[in-house]
């Protein structure tokens, strides 16, 4: 598995999850876990996904997700999962 962590932060509005998930479905990125909170009207979502079946390289997916975010006015950040494993797991 090639796990990536996607975070979405921005003002809450209709269809944020739909938009991001559509992109992921179209690019064969499989969502493994999803959680979200809304703090003071700010939408905060984190997804863990597996991109091993995707034909696009990590770079492209990260750029295109960021662009998708821009279109709907939220910040989408894509990182490899290892940095979180390294920091928070023994």
């Amino acid at each position: 598995m090639e796990k990536i962590v996607i975070t979405v932060v921005g003002k809450d509005s209709v269809g944020i999850i739909a938009k991001v998930c559509t992109y992921m479905a179209n690019n064969r990125v499989n969502i493994l876990d999803i959680s979200q909170t809304i703090v003071q009207e700010y939408f905060n979502m984190m997804m863990i996904a597996d991109m091993s079946k995707s034909e696009k390289p990590f770079d492209t997916i990260a750029d295109e997700l960021a662009q998708t975010g821009e279109e709907i006015g939220v910040i989408v950040k894509c990182q490899r999962e290892e940095i979180f494993e390294a920091m928070h797991r023994l």
Partner: protein, 454 residues
Amino acid sequence: MINIHEVEETNKMIEKENLDVRTITLGISLFDCIDSDLDSLKQKIYDKITSTAKDLVSTGREIEKKYAIPIVNKRISVTPISLIGSAACRESGDFVEIAKTLDEAAKAVGVNFLGGYSALVSKGMTKSDELLIRSIPKALSCTDRICSSVNLGSTRTGINMDAVRLMGEMIKKTAELTADRDSLGCAKLVVFCNAPDDNPFMAGAFHGVTESDSIINVGVSGPGVVKTALESVRGADFETLCETIKKTAFKVTRVGQLVAREASTMLGVPFGIIDLSLAPTPAVGDSVADILKEIGLEHPGAPGTTAALALLNDQVKKGGVMASSYVGGLSGAFIPVSEDQGMIEAVNAGALTIEKLEAMTCVCSVGLDMIAVPGDTKASTISGIIADEMALGMVNNKTTAVRLIPAAGKKVGDKVEFGGLLGEAPVMAVNTFGCDDLIARKGRIPAPIHSFKN
């Protein structure tokens, strides 16, 4: 699986608390470049550096993107040039030619500094060592990215006082030759006692003679992260304070370890060490001084500073060593003046003096770092300050260093401005009583006894 709070914590450290990997430093051995002909030596050095390091900067960028963590500097360290140039260089000017070649190579591969314009003279100087040392002022004034270091003493050999005297003069000369740039040359020149072979940080990085052909060493950072963590335990007891620093240092170091491993794999170069140092920058919120304040000082320099720094330094190591199997370099807290906004404020407030900084260097890594002193400070006085700092390192079996900037034409109250990571420094007062007769003595201070520890 990783949860949303852990993701938020990591990203907050990166985005708001200046967590970064301070440097990926590629150490390159130049032993196989040695040649008695200067031109072919230069060509071999240029070719070796530009081929070994050709992917260094792009690899760094790729890793930055993968984990969304800034890697501030990509740098190179090379075998001390006094060794590499000894067969080819007949005069100081020949060494300057090598410096120019190194500068061109550094620019060609896009690194911001290249260290190793160095000599290791802790016991004695060869002819070549002396030629290199005498070439330092010229070399640093006509290059942009070269860093120079000289090891003047060690616990095993004592202190080479002839070299200490010579370096006092060379530091002054470097300041004068770069007077038009606030004596910038001196910011790229450091002297050591017990210099480590695997230090990734400038200006003191060089690729030690005990190292393999090439190696990746990584310096982590994160004073802002430690500071923020300590804000949440304000007023708590020492046990809580220490636990918090340790946990934070562990997390920061794990990121460094990940980046080092990744860079090592991508470049096909073995992983050397992680340097655990808390390295500040002039940016607000990236200050070791602010951590000391958070521990409970009004300003660094106040009574209690040495104790607070000793605690901080020790906890950073205790947390960091568990996060990486190979820890090395300088590993501790850096206390440069010009590169730390909180230190600058402490000097301006009158809280911090060179003498207190000297005491602080007994309990943390490095030494008197990036301190501007008046331009009319005598060479013998600079040598005296160096000798004191070398003695601390020699007796206490630790690395100490001196990076002083006798700012040409400036006096106490003025300031020097370098910009970028090197920051700006207020010119600090120096004790002006003489030590000429001490420095004029020839020879070396013998190695200290290793028994009867009192």
